[in-house]
Amino acid sequence: MLLYIFRRILIMIPTLLLTSALVFTIMELPPGDYFESYMAELQAQGEGVDKARIEFLKKEYGFDKSPVERYFIWLGGLLQGDLGYSFEYQMPVSELVGSRIFLTVLVSFATILLTWLIAFPIGIYSATHQYSWGDYGLTFLGLMGIAVPNFLLALILMYFANVWFGTSIGHLMAPEYLGQPMSWAKFKSILEHMWIPVIVIGLAGTASMIRKIRANLLDELQKQYTITAKAKGLHPFKALVKYPLRSSLNFFVGGIGGILPEIVSGAEIVAIVLSLETTGPLLIKALQSQDMYLAGSFLMFLALLTVIGVLISDIALAFLDPRIRLQGRSTR
């Protein structure tokens, strides 16, 4: 087992190197660079551009060097834990991301918890009562949840929250608490605002989770061991939860790896629509404006979390499900 983990960690190194090269190449592909799109943006608004300053910044950020050189400078920085500088914000990427990570984790965590709390009971109910009215009804709701675009729902909820409860539009807290140190009043304001993003982001995830639980559980419920267990008179609860449900959860444990980067990145589009102070809008904005180091370092961070998450999933699966073998040994 230890050897397996060690090997997996070694494989992570070339994987991440390859990812970094890919990330950098893709970011270099669009025409122009940050400074050109910055100038274009100013001109689009009919504003002036200080060319001398742009020249200065270009030199400072090494844009007089070739892309390959810049790649290695960036990579070298990453290895030493230096995520580089954001052009857009003119500050170190780590500070920028750091300032937003707390709220991001809070929102994501609440969302994931909500997803599970709703999805599990409903999924199990749907599977055990297949083709009943309850199943159809909940399936319909679930499909609606998948079909309604998140951002639209966000806008609608935001509007009604404002009209009915007077909650200020956008942001994760009332404007007066922005940039203030954490306090009880601020925390309450955050809770007051957080339910909209949590519901909106959680909705699609909940719906698809319900479908997955239902499908996987149905597979198991039709297997012979379940029928045997029931025939033998095992307690219905045990005949459902202890065996079929457990076996149907492989997809879920396998998915835990994906949760790790998700917690950190948040739901990007919804966060933009709602003007949340999370990392999602930061990333999208950086990609749009070709703020290379911010986008690149953040993507690398996500890549690292993904690789670690997958490793955790694999290990957890191996522990939970004795049918899974670590090495490709032939079965006797």
Partner: protein
Amino acid sequence: MTNAIDRRRFNCILLSAPALGVAGYLPASARDFIEPPYLKDQIEAKRLPPLQERIPVKPRVIDLERMERKPGRYGGQIRMLMGDPKDVRMVVVYGYARLVGYDENLNLVPDILENFEVEDGRIFTLRIRPGHRWSDGHPFTAEDFRYFWEDIANNEKLSLTGPPAEMLVDGKPPVFEVLDECTVRYTWPAPNPAFIPALAGALPLYIYAPSHYLKQFHVKYAHPAELELKVTSARVRDWTSLHERMGRMYRPQNPDLPCLDAWCLSTAPPSTRFVFKRNPYFHRIDTEGRQLPYADEIILNIGSSALVAAQTATGEADLQARYIRFDDYTFLKSAEKRGGFNVELWGRGEGSRMALLPNLNAEDPVWRKLWRDVRVRRALSLAIDRREINQAIFYGLGRESANTMLPQSPLHRLEYQTAWTRFDLDQANKLLDEAGLAKRDWDGIRYLPDGRRAELVVETAGESTEQADVLALIRDNWLKIGIKIYTRPTQRDLFRKRVYAGSVVMSVWSGLDNALATPDMSPHELAPTGQAQLQWPKWGQHYEEKGAVGEPPDLPEARRLLELYLAWRQSRSTAERAVIWHEMLKIHADQVFTIGTVNGTRQPVVVSKRLVNVPEEGIWAFDPGGYFGRYLPDTFWFRDTAE
């Protein structure tokens, strides 16, 4: 050293002391000045001197009654919504504290400066207000100008390309002299008419810097070990980056940087809420003895630009026009009561809300040749029904016009506005027939000289549906003159690249950025002087890069425009400049290099019902005057403040 400066400074104030009596409009004694309650604690704790000592000996007195506005009271926060952390610069733009600035009637008036003199168009003597101080209380003197000129503009590490372009005449820098602590002089060998307008720009030419503060980051003045420490702790590459970062005035990010603006930044980024606090040493006062600005703070809430209109409707902004579009007007109007604001409609300052730009440097040789034929350009302009566009898209609130000056500009003439803008399909058809496009296909589409059908793709930067709507109207009318257009929205960066390379035959962009020009403002937009001029990107690039890349203009009229622009750069008097401007505008009207549609369209401005003195009508333009800047937002006040 310090002593010497102090003594000279003393002299400078002493010399100007007699002027105080002459000025006469100042309150007679300290008793008549009214202190802002916001600063009361600091004044009582003796951390701030009284108002009389904080303002210059001769402050800029704003006579509100003469401007038909009401003198106000202190207090309150003006809240604004922004869509981007870079928008912190808007406070510097709106605040519009400049060495010299444009007033409501586009006159150039000294603002931070007490006065300035121009001799022979080439010798500029600037006089600082004696006793003027930075926001930290340190005197603002000639030393701050010297520091900029010698230690920033002429430091090859800080200014890679040398002094700013507006300070070079034929590549030659001025002779800089400090005449006394409050007077500086710049002397060029030849006239430099671009200098003063550059100081008044919404994005100003900064020729001063808070030297007392910035010296700690400058290798010439700072202690090497301390500087090294600062560079490491700020995690920047070297002292130049540190100096640049700490000293940036236009888009401030350093709350410690002393400023001369009405409100100074007090929030360190990153943040989604920026607070700008009143500058206790600001140099403007009203006639009743109150120091401006009236409002204590400006608050910028940074969110998503797409949400600004919705947030404004709930009353989350006190003064908002940025990120609000004309199509939001009805929505905002319906929310007026609930949100407690009024929606005013200002005019927009572009020469044309949307202009069609035939690319004179297009790669396609056939179209390029056609575009260079003035008959074709005129025909296309004649075949646009501007009235229909104005009525259908802008509710008739715009002005049907070529891409030229607005009536508010002293350079406006009706013949420029109406040149080739009447809707006349017959004449358009005749002109195209004459231009060698007489042969038509079965469906009425003309044949190009090389046998292709006259079909072209009009590219847009894909930023607004408004452009697509206008193009749909134009398309129908152009079909009647046998030209078929297809609209293709792309992405902004890609769009510009393609225009620069000549791959785009015709593009769409807004018209002249500054359509409120006076003869003293630079006419560079009218001549091929920049690559960003999408009707002749290669000619513009040729000038911009001093002939290294691009192509020299080969149309006589375009060459003439460039000559005229260069003549303006050499001009000595306003009269001379007006003659040059008119010739350039005339060429544009006659040659139709850009095809204008409608200008003077409306910009909704949301003003809280509590906010007094915001004009009901104005022009929304970056240049001249920095959007609200020309209307002096420091004189806006809240009617319900506690004072």
